[in-house]
Amino acid sequence: MRPTDRKYSKSHEWVKLDGETALVGITDFAVQALSNGNESDLVHCDLPESGRLLAAGESFGEIESVKAVSDLYAPIAGEVLEINSGIEDHLEIVSRDPWGQGWILRLKPERKSLDGLMDAAEYEKYLATLAH
């Protein structure tokens, strides 16, 4: 079971409220989907500047794995307060710990509600629909 203290988007990002702010990252499914089984498969990322205002669903950055560049999407609207500078040159942290140390953005949410996103159980069901 994935962490129940956060909500999930269909494009495989998670968001977790943390006081007045919200942390955003990508799920283990996203990491697996982009990788070839090695921690070192995520190689580059482009992340937004602090202060940028993101709409829900807007692309906020890009991540390169060993064989693909993929867009990253904001699960909620908000202002970028901080990016996790520790991961920019060490994306293996995202591979190893996508739920904790591998967080990507800290946002000031436009709204405190995470309505419209999936909880962990709903996300699991959604993932099952992607399998065949």
Binding site: L34, V43, H44, K67, V69, D71
Partner: protein, 242 residues
């Protein structure tokens, strides 16, 4: 049987080639679209995240652009370039990244077999074409790459959005001065042109993917979007963004 669109454009400019591919990646209502194409002039393309300074060949090539797909630099000369744009949920692309590469490469390998080339996924072995410090796609191999003659012969990369995937591939028919000792079709099919190889690739894709490829063109929306996107690939600031 599913019908895919096939757009063929030989000898097109780099900004057209990349602009059209990006427009097809965005074209969410489009059928699965395969492109076969070549470049005029011969052009070196850098991967989206590559640092310009880490590709020494960029100083030697007459025409240089930056792609929107990842990976290393490719000299688009003596090759058939293809792309396949399809929904992320399409059977070609669903499941993991390695699964999607294996499916596309099965189609390419089938076409190469008609030339007598037995291309295989690299797996864990090292290659005679692997070389440090050039930033060139064909000098860096991964387990997913198609190889023959112990060298890499097909360069590939993907761009993924939440809706669609575009897979780029470069099938080497001959080598170039910037790429050197790599696997090509030259040994079994000297001076084979992309135009002459295209029917075999088309038939192999149709057989491997169980589809019919129907010749088509970009629609008005895609052409319009291509014209909007193409200038970025001529912009020196984009080329030298890293």
């Amino acid at each position: 049987m599913e019908t895919w669109r096939l757009i063929t454009t030989w000898g097109a400019q780099p900004s057209f080639n990349l602009g059209l591919d990006e427009a097809l990646l965005e074209s969410s209502d489009a059928p699965v679209t395969v492109r076969f194409y070549s470049w005029k002039p011969a052009t070196l393309s850098l991967g989206y995240f590559q640092k310009f300074a880490e590709v020494p060949a960029a100083l030697d090539a007459r025409s240089v652009v930056r792609r929107f797909t990842g990976g290393g630099a490719i000299h688009h000369d003596r090759e058939l370039t293809f792309s396949i744009a399809a929904p992320l949920a399409h059977p070609l692309y669903r499941d993991s990244l390695p699964d999607s590469y294996a499916r596309v490469h099965a189609g390419v390998a089938r076409a190469l077999l008609t030339l007598g080339i037995e291309a295989k996924l690299r797996g864990e072995s090292k290659l005679a074409s692997d070389r440090e410090g050039t930033g060139m796609c064909f000098h860096k191999s991964s387990p997913l790459d198609l190889v023959w003659d112990e060298r890499k012969g097909v360069g590939s990369a993907q761009r993924r959005t939440r809706e669609r995937v575009l897979h780029h591939g470069s099938i080497k028919l001959g080598t170039t001065a910037l790429e050197g000792d790599i696997a090509t079709a030259e040994r079994v099919a000297p001076r084979l042109s992309p135009e002459a190889f295209a029917p075999a690739l088309r038939a192999a894709f149709e057989a491997e993917f169980g589809v019919r490829l129907e010749a088509g063109v970009p629609d008005a929306l895609e052409r319009g979007r291509m014209k909007e996107l193409a200038p970025r690939f001529l912009d020196p600031a984009f080329l030298r963004r890293r």
